[in-house]
Amino acid sequence: MSTKAISLTQLQEKVRTITLPLIVLLVWWVVSHREIVSPHFLPRPETVVGAFFTLVEEGILSFNLKMSFTRVISGFLLGISFGLVLGIAMGLSRTVEKLLRPLFDAVRQVPMLGFIPLIILWCGVNETSKVVFIAIGAYYSVVLNTFEGIRSVKKEYLEVAQVFEFGRFNLLRKFVLPAALPSILTGLRLGLSKSWMLVVGAELFTATKGGIGSMMAEGREQWRMEIVFVGIIIVGLVGFVLDQLLKVLEGRLLRWRKAID
């Protein structure tokens, strides 16, 4: 009886979940087929699917994705390596914090896109400027979360370390970093999703050859609505997958945490 009831509510839940997306699809289909809206503005669903397969077959999609990935990965790694160093230094030392935090906070007030013109002026319209720009996105999140993570290490744990006469290095390795790890990983996740957004931005805002953002920009310039659609879906999917990958990593590294969800 009760199991049946549960499965019924679960079924209900599933139906609810797909109702709205189905309606959206249906409206899209009807509107585009009846040409209530010009196909220039709203391509037919099957045109989008067709465009996706063409882009895949011709290798355009994989080429552009590869370009974007290369940029994201180099920018992300650059950003987090600087971010981890500064975050740890500020977390461990109150003097470093007092020296650098005000400047860090002040610079952080500038919306990241605001740096694009400066970076382009200084680095030129090339790969370097894009990588630097993407790095900034990852950098902020990692600095802040690493700092907070280290600062919120419980005093109780540090007392345990004192009782066992741990040296500084061991203290950092055994107590401070593991305790700060959840927060650091959150920083990495936020940083990666920012980096992904900024790569799209960088490719849109700077004349670029290659990359998923420039594929969309070209689609827009040529009024190829279906390419823009494919681009949006791919960008969303990749962002989601990247986040899930880091979540899996998080789950592995933080096995010791009681699952809260």
């Binding site: 109780e156 345990v160 009782v163």
Partner: protein, 260 residues
């Protein structure tokens, strides 16, 4: 020089500064603990008993007077004093085995390290839980692991800060028996326990030291000359309990009138 495990507190005074005013927390405390003794410090909450214990651990500085262990004046925490905190303070990211092994970090025990950890897990009855994480243990089990962790270094003295305070009444009584067993098996280790549970103090200790409130002073030391294991319902036990409670101006529950 002093014998291993012998502790001497002389003329201890500690003050905290609160809003510019100095408040005396510990006043003129003198206490001698012989090697192998089990001592309980008992007092109302806020009387400074935990502060006193933290001074012996080495986590408090800025006090007057001397704390001398085995003939040497204390200076900061050290591995010759094991500590069991009220909250077990196991590191949540390490397995029980690794938590217990914390005290052996970078020491020369490396070869038989595994054996030492095994022995201590055995001692506290946690065999088979080596790979468990702290969140998977109940409160009582976590506290046992924390006792094992404090003992692996073979400290001269074990300091317990309300070690059973967070446990439910039944688990608590059971753990008191376990603690006594561990104390006997570890032969010769000195234990100092802070508690606010009178019965627990009498059940476990050779001497019960009573602290008074504000400023914390040692009011009275009551010896417990009863054979172990002790019977909580025995006449002598209850008489000592009455004596302790009298110090707090409390009446003992009249259990013994029924016991007669």
């Amino acid at each position: 020089m002093g014998e291993s495990g012998a502790l001497q507190l002389s003329n201890l005074n500690k003050k905290f500064t609160v809003e510019g005013e100095k408040i005396s927390i510990i006043e003129n405390v003198n206490l001698t603990v012989s090697p192998g003794e089990f001592i309980s410090i008992i007092g109302p909450s806020g009387c400074g008993k935990t502060t006193l214990l933290r001074m012996i651990i080495g986590l408090e500085s800025d006090y007057e007077g001397d704390i001398i262990l085995a003939g040497k004046k204390l200076n900061g925490p050290s591995l010759n004093r094991g500590v069991v905190f009220q909250d077990h303070r196991l590191l949540p990211w390490l397995t029980i085995e690794k938590n217990v092994g914390l005290g052996l970090e970078g020491k020369k025990y490396a070869r038989n390290r595994k054996q030492i950890i095994q022995d201590h897990l055995e001692l506290v009855g946690l065999r088979g839980f080596e790979k468990a994480y702290p969140y998977q243990l109940s409160g009582g089990m976590a506290q046992r692991a924390s006792i094992a962790r404090a003992l692996v270094n073979r400290p001269e003295i074990l300091l317990l800060d309300e070690p059973l305070g967070a446990l439910d009444a039944l688990t608590r009584m059971y753990m008191q028996q376990e603690l006594e067993k561990i104390w006997q098996q570890e032969g010769g280790i000195t234990m100092i326990m802070v508690t606010h549970d009178v019965e627990e103090a009498i059940y476990l200790s050779d001497k019960v030291v009573i602290m008074s409130n504000r400023p914390g002073k040692l009011k009275k030391t009551i010896p417990v000359p009863l054979a172990r294991p002790r019977d909580r319902a025995s006449y002598d036990f209850i008489k000592i309990k009455e004596e302790v409670l009298r110090e707090f101006h409390l009446q003992a529950e009249h259990q013994f009138s029924y016991a007669i």
